[in-house]
Symmetry: C2
Subunit: 357 residues, 2 copies
C-alpha cells in the first residue's frame, strides 16, 4: 500500500498550495515550498506551510500554479524529479493536453495524475491559506490512460490527509461536471448581473433575495474565471449552446399572444434540475423544513434565538437571513428536519418569538 | 388628507390578500373577504383576516387575484362600487392594458391605482397569510395618466398600514425594474438549473455553494411564474435579447484559440452589476466584512457561537452556512461592519473558535 511519507513539494503558494502545506504540516509531513514569486513562498513559509529549502528528493509534487501554466510545470517537475506529480487546477483536460504536447511519449506522463481540490474562498494568496480548507470538501481525482495505479493511490492519500472526501472521475467527465455545476452557473450569474449595470438606482430598490442569490458569485475574480472558463471551453460550449437554443425558443414564445407552454416548459425543467442539487451533507434540500422567525435587528437577538432553538433539541441544518432594504426587523429562516419542527415552533412561540412555518 | 378608514374589500384571499386582511385587522379596519373559491374565503375568515359579509360600501378594494384575471376584476369592482381600487399584481402594464380594453373611456379608471407589495413566501394560500408579511418590505405604487391624486394617497396609506416602505414608479418603469431584478434572474436560474436535469449523479456530487445559490429560486412555482413572465414579456424580451447576444459573443470567443477578452468583458460586467445589488437595509453588501467560523455540526453550537459573538458587541448583519456535501463540520460566515471585526475575532478566538477572516 502506498503511504504518503513526504517530502511533498508544492509549486505555487497561493491559497490552495499554502493550505495543502498547512494541512500536511499538521501531520508532520515535510513540505517544500516553491513559487515564481519569492515573496509568496516567503509568506507561506512564515505562516508554517513548509520550508523553501528541503534537501531530500520529493515523493510527491503538487502543482498549484495559475491554470494557464499548469501543463508546463507538470512536465518540468516530471523531468526534474522521480516523484509522483499531481496538480490542483479546476479544469483537467487542458493541463493534460498541454503536458502531452511537451513530452515525447505518453508513458512519460505515467507518474502524473490530475486532481481538483474543490474548496476555495473569496480571498486569495498565501495569507488566506488555512490548514482546514479541505476538511470535508470534495477532492476530485482524474486518472488518465497512462496514470500508474500507485500514483492514483498516492494522490488519494494526499486528499485524505487534507481531510477531503475523494471522487474519482475521468478527465472528460470531470470537466463536463464542473462545466455544469460551477462554470455555467458562474457565467449565468455574470450575465444576469450584467443587466444591472445600466439600471437606474430606483429599479435596484426593488431588489429582493432572489436577485441577490443569483448574482452573488458574479462578484468573483474575473481574471481567474477567464482562465477557468477558457480552459474548459469545449465542455462549456455545448452547455451554452443548449442555453442559447432555449433562450431563442423563450424569446419566440414571449413574442406570441398566448404561447405560455414553452415558458412553463423552461420553468418546469428548472424545478426538476434545482431539486437535484445536493444540499447539506449530500441530502436533497427538500428534506428540510423552513421555519421563519421575525427578529429585531439589534445585537444579541440571534444569540437568544439560537439558545432557544437549541433548548428545543432541534439541530439547525441551514439558515438564512432575509434582509430587504429598509426593513427595521430581520427575518431568519431556520431549516430543520421534519421531526424537529413541532417542538421547535412550540418552544420558540412559548418564549415570545413570532414564528411562521 | 385621505385617511384609510375602511371598510377594505379584498378580492382574492391567497397569501397576499389574506396577509393584507390580517395586517388591517390589527389596526381595527373592517375587512371584507371575497374569493371565487368559497373555501379560501372561509379559511381566511377563520384565521381572522376579515369577514365574508360586510354590509357597508367599501372605501377601498384590493384586487389580489391571479395575474391573468386582475384586469377584469379591477373593472368589475370599479363598476360595482364607488371605491378606490388597487391591485397587488407583480406586473403593472398588463392589468392596466386589460382594464383599459374593458372600459369606454380612460376616465373610468381614475379611481384605479396599481400597486405591488413586494413580499412573498415559498408557501401560498390563505393559511400562509401573516399580519407582518409586509413589515419593512417595499410596496411599489404605480399611478397611471388618469389616476386621481386622492386614490394614489389612499393606496399609500394602505401600504403604510401594512408596515411597508412605498416607492412610486411609472407603470413602465416598474415593469422594467421587476424584469431586471426579479423576472430575468428567475429565468436565468431556471435555465441554469435545467442543465442539471440530465446530469449523471456523479457530476452533481461536485456541487458547491455557487450552484446552490444560482439555482435556488428555480424551484419556484412554474404556474405562477408562467403568468408573471408572460404578463411582462415586453420588458423581459428586451433584456433577454441582450443576454442572447452576449451568449452568442461568448460562444464565438470560446471557439477561438486565444480570445479571452470577450470572456473577461462578460465577467467584468457581471462584477459591476453584482456590486450594485443592495444588501441589508439598502446598504451595499461590500460594506460588510465576512468572518468565517468553523463549527461542529451538532445541536447548540450555533447558540454558543452567537452568544459569544453578541458578547463581543458585534451585530451580525448577515450570515450564511456553508454545507458542502459530506462535510462533518460546518462553516458559518458572519458578516459584520468593519469596525466590529477586530473585537469579534478576538473574542471568538479567545473562546476557542476556529476563526478565519
Amino acid at each position: 500500500m502506498t503511504e504518503l511519507r513526504g517530502p511533498v513539494r508544492i509549486v505555487g503558494t497561493g491559497l490552495i498550495g499554502t493550505s495543502i502545506g498547512l494541512a500536511l504540516g499538521r501531520l508532520g509531513v515535510v513540505v517544500e515550498l516553491v513559487d515564481a514569486d519569492p515573496d509568496n513562498a516567503l509568506m507561506a513559509e512564515r505562516i508554517g506551510a513548509g520550508s523553501r529549502l528541503v534537501q531530500i528528493e520529493p515523493q510527491l509534487v503538487v502543482v498549484a500554479v495559475p491554470p494557464d501554466h499548469v501543463g508546463e510545470v507538470i512536465v518540468e517537475q516530471l523531468q526534474q524529479t522521480d516523484a509522483i506529480v499531481t496538480d490542483a487546477a479546476s479544469v483537467k483536460s487542458k493541463p493534460l493536453h498541454d503536458a502531452r504536447a511537451l513530452v515525447a511519449s505518453p508513458e512519460e506522463l505515467s507518474r502524473y495524475v490530475g486532481s481538483h481540490p474543490m474548496a476555495g474562498s473569496e480571498r486569495s494568496g498565501p495569507l488566506a491559506g488555512r490548514a482546514d480548507l479541505f476538511e470535508g470538501a470534495t477532492w476530485a481525482i482524474t486518472p488518465h490512460e497512462t496514470s500508474e495505479p500507485a500514483a492514483v493511490e498516492l494522490v488519494r492519500r494526499l486528499a485524505e490527509a487534507a481531510g477531503a472526501r475523494t471522487v474519482e472521475l475521468s478527465v472528460a467527465d470531470h470537466d463536463l461536471a464542473v462545466a455544469r455545476v460551477s462554470h455555467l452557473p458562474q457565467l449565468m450569474s455574470s450575465l444576469a448581473a450584467g443587466t444591472l449595470v445600466d439600471a437606474p438606482a430606483a429599479h435596484l430598490e426593488l431588489s429582493g433575495q432572489g436577485v441577490r442569490d443569483v448574482t452573488r458569485i458574479a462578484a468573483g475574480d474575473p481574471g481567474l474565471w477567464t482562465q477557468i472558463v477558457s480552459a474548459n471551453s469545449p465542455a462549456l460550449s455545448g452547455l451554452l449552446e443548449g442555453i442559447r437554443d432555449e433562450l431563442d425558443r423563450l424569446l419566440i414564445a414571449l413574442g406570441k399572444e398566448e404561447a405560455t407552454d414553452e415558458v412553463t416548459a423552461v420553468l418546469n425543467r428548472g424545478v426538476s434540475g434545482a431539486i437535484r442539487v445536493p444540499g447539506k451533507h449530500g441530502t436533497p434540500h427538500i428534506d428540510l423544513v423552513p421555519v421563519l422567525v421575525t427578529i429585531p435587528d439589534r445585537p444579541g437577538q440571534l444569540a437568544r434565538l439560537f439558545a432557544d432553538a437549541a433548548e428545543s433539541g432541534a439541530n439547525v441544518e441551514d439558515l438564512r437571513i432575509d434582509h430587504s432594504p429598509g426593513r427595521p426587523v430581520g427575518e431568519v429562516e431556520l431549516s430543520v428536519k421534519p421531526a424537529s419542527v413541532d417542538q421547535l415552533v412550540e418552544v420558540l412561540t412559548e418564549r415570545g418569538w413570532s414564528v411562521h412555518r
